[in-house]
Subunit: 260 residues, 2 copies
């Protein structure tokens, strides 16, 4: 069992120092509740709609930005998943990093880029299965559009994930509402895993965000749900053992493994 | 554009003649509305929970049962998708057949069997992509538990399906409600196809059914929705051209094809 904190956040576009300060504040508040992991939105450190400046703010995963996140994690005593622009292999990826104090960071790179804006800024990574153990819960990461493809969550679940943590930048509108209200819950149910889908709120110079962050349980029920507007820090317990009845009834993963 | 009729039905367990009579009545009513295709539940001809008698009622796809369905289709002027127990290859499959008057029937065999009851009665078919053209709309079929696996709908959508027609026998309960309320709509949205999911209502000697039949559009909206109790004949128009805005915004299939 772990306690998860999820921050629906209004990032300051292009202002990494301000966003780091916001993260540090949330990490303190979350740690005080007993949470051991804080998840934030896609590109939460740079802002999502900042445009070309995001490329200037890109850093390698062993650069000062991730080092600073590790320090915040160590000081506050809570692990953090944050979205950042990662400079690597001569290009820039839209990445998320898991830091847990001084331990080696775990990096996931977005493989499904959405639309012309993202494709102009980032390289699409090959689909990857990045799993890590967080206090006994096996966790995987995806970013935004990745989770809309059932193939990606399935890959993580077949590899043994209990929980999939998804920083996102979902725009407001009909499709965004559908994704938050139906698709995220279905991803959880069809794999019998937890899915935490954490969005921006408000607007930046290019996008208006849907808010509506969600933490769904393996039976598709919502453990937490943020409004369409406003920042929100949600604290929830994730205990895979609570959902044995649902897993016994909905045998998607065991049926696929039995058949393979 | 086609007009689809969907019959949420209370099959008579083990009474094929009574179920054929019910189908004939619904075919007449549906044809009178201008519908060109009538869809009914999984094993609607035998009843779902009839047990071992289903094996005795199994017939080959060129047997008298399908011949009788073709005659009903020819007489009433409406194509029919009906669930039946199919004797083939020395075993018995849980199948659905599309008949359109005297034309050769199209048969789909369920590949994902659910639980001990189905596995004792039927052989699991290999996953198959059975597409047919119905009045200009490319249609595929799945049966019940098949549609709960995103892989199956994806396979049909990548092969060019506009609509996926799904006879089902969904039991009442928490999971059934979740599937009807969230998963079916997500299957439609994540592939930008129509999904018609047509269930039994009431109870037979083994199961109590969820009713709650659904016809979802490519944008995940519900074109029709039956109650949890009672028979219902739903008549809806399916026009792929109505959903170009949603397809332009939700580019799952084109993104997968571009990347492959």
């Amino acid at each position: 069992m772990i306690t998860l904190a999820a921050l629906q956040m209004k990032s300051k576009s292009g202002d990494v120092a301000a966003n780091l300060a916001r993260i540090e504040q949330a990490a303190k508040e979350a740690a005080a509740t007993g949470a051991s992991l804080l998840v934030m939105p896609e590109l939460g450190l740079t802002g999502y709609g900042a445009g070309d400046v995001i490329r200037d703010l890109a850093e390698p995963a062993d650069g000062p930005l991730v080092t600073r996140l590790q320090a915040i994690s160590a000081e506050t005593g809570i692990a953090i998943i944050a979205g950042f622009a990662e400079k690597a292999d001569g290009t820039i990826f839209n990445s998320a990093v898991y830091v847990d104090g001084p331990a080696a960071p775990v990096v996931y790179r977005k493989s499904n880029l959405y639309g012309d804006y993202e494709r102009a800024l980032f390289a699409a990574a090959e689909p990857s299965t990045v799993l890590f153990d967080h206090r006994g819960v096996r966790c995987g990461m995806l970013i935004c559009y990745d989770v809309e493809f059932p193939e990606n969550v399935r890959r993580l679940a077949l590899a043994g994930a209990d929980a999939v943590l998804v920083p996102t930048a979902l725009p407001a509108g009909y499709s965004g509402t559908f994704i938050a209200d139906h698709m995220i819950r279905t991803r959880a149910f069809e794999n019998q895993v937890f899915v935490a889908y954490i969005n921006h709120c408000g607007a930046d110079e290019r996008f208006t965000f849907a808010g509506s962050s969600r933490v769904a349980a393996p039976d598709g029920s919502l453990l937490a749900s943020a409004a369409s507007h406003g920042e929100a820090l949600m604290i929830v317990s994730l205990d895979p053992a609570d959902f044995q009845v649902s897993k016994t009834e909905n045998t998607y993963i065991t049926d696929l493994i039995r058949r393979a």
